[in-house]
Amino acid sequence: MPLIETRDLWQRRDGHDILKNINLRVERGEIFALIGPTGAGKTTLLRLIDMLDIPAEGKVFFNGTDINSSDKVRLETRRKMAFVLQKPVVFNASVYENIACGLRWRGVNSRDIHKEVDGIVETVELKSYKYRNARTLSGGEVQRVAIARAIAVQPEVLLLDEPTANLDPVSASKIEDLIAGIIKRETITVIMATHDMSQGQRLADRIGVLVNGEMVQTGGLHEIFTSPRNKQVAELVGMENIIDGVVTSNVGEMATIDINGRVIEAVTDFDVGVEVSVCMRPEDITVALSRISSSARNSMAGNITWTVSTGPLCRVEIDCGFPLVALVTRRSAEEMRLKKGTQVFANFKAVSIHVLRRN
């Protein structure tokens, strides 16, 4: 039996469907990431699971029990979960009191609360702030208080809504480490919403992709990453190059695809004549100044239309009859003197191309 299950869950607001028929199963001990662009319904789904809102249709089950069956069940179930909101707020009280409140509401005695909170402020590195008013803390610190407050009650399920979205990179990686530590140390089920695919990959066992209120695809990390089901998922998982074409031949799953008159080879089982979208990651495309014979099946000539350097990497767009974005190291970009107008060859393997049927 899954620990958390949603059945035909719908949510509506002002006549709009925010969630459409969500059927989700999360097993005990699983770290599940809900990935999707902002406004996809991730927060709404988490709020329904935590019973902060009532669904328009459908049910949520916790360990087989309908969580909205009565107020008593609602409270009891909620006390087995903890939810860290996207923009966490702290109560106008000390850090200690903030972390202690969940335990207090569960009737834990003061001595045990003291022991528990003392341990947790060390974990979240807020020991020196223990008696400070939590309202005076910075964003990253507030986030840590919110996480501390949630894990203090030793929940069976931890719900995290964009835990690092509003933080600077340093605080964000601190929070991520903290979450990774919690996941490693404790047997806990986590459902985490994030728009950051790489964060999902770093922390989760399984991923569900939510787009426009629909659960477009759920699966393991590898599956989502390598075989997105549609364009939106492909974009989300970093397949920046999505180009439309038509299959012109297919022999033993090695197909040729016509894109604007240029032909590429790709591995797919789509038949001749099928209209497809070809998806490629920029990091799977190598750039060379001359045609190289390697295991790369495709080598397309083209001119660079723009280059942008970001940190140690350089992003270049090559016009090979269709635009193709490639990622090269800054060093090799400098060595090859890549700039606008340079003629180059874009090389990519047939297996690194993901082919989707267009509809």
């Binding site: 909101l85 109560f91 106008n92 509401w105 919110a146």
Partner: protein, 228 residues
Amino acid sequence: MTELWNGLVKAVELIVTLDPEVMQIAGRSLMISVSSAVIGSVICIPVACLIHFNRFHGKRFLVSLIQTFYSVPTVAIGLFVFVFISRAGPLGGLGILFTPTAIVVGQVILITPILLGLTISALNSVDRAILDTARSLGASGWQMAVLVIKEARFAVMAAVIMGFGRAISEVGISLMVGGNIRGFTRVITTAISLETSKGDIELSLALGIILIFIALVVNIVMNRIQQR
């Protein structure tokens, strides 16, 4: 003009020398109005929570009704309470007419709308995310109410102080159901009105100064609270 000046000098003298009559009346006034504010708060804060946390039909109407009664005339309440507790009234058996208790009852009724209304708006001002957080951390209904009052504590305190201010400055109720009995139910406001009509300006002025001083303190405390 000299009369007023002499009166003022005498009044300050009465205050500085801690004149027994002045002190007694001021002390009684404080006692009665503090009691009204405390009793009113004990009743109104939980009721305000009930109204705030429950969704029911006509809630908005109820809240505007409460706000309408902020400025209910004190004599109207005096009359109303008088009718109830006079010997022939339905609560005449209690025998509380012309006692400090009667004044407290009247003042509690007087300040109930203010306490209710301002407490409800204080609770309203608490961020929804605070409620969601508390609920997600497993707070039950009344645990949430306690938390929200704590979060809005300064605004709730302001409501109580406003209630106290209204109670101590009213005269209609104290006069009608207290009876202005010397040494028993005479409070600052009733004493001022009586002594002024008797021509004893000094005593009136002294009590007036004390009343203004109390109002000033109340205002300073209010400002302090609202700045937090």
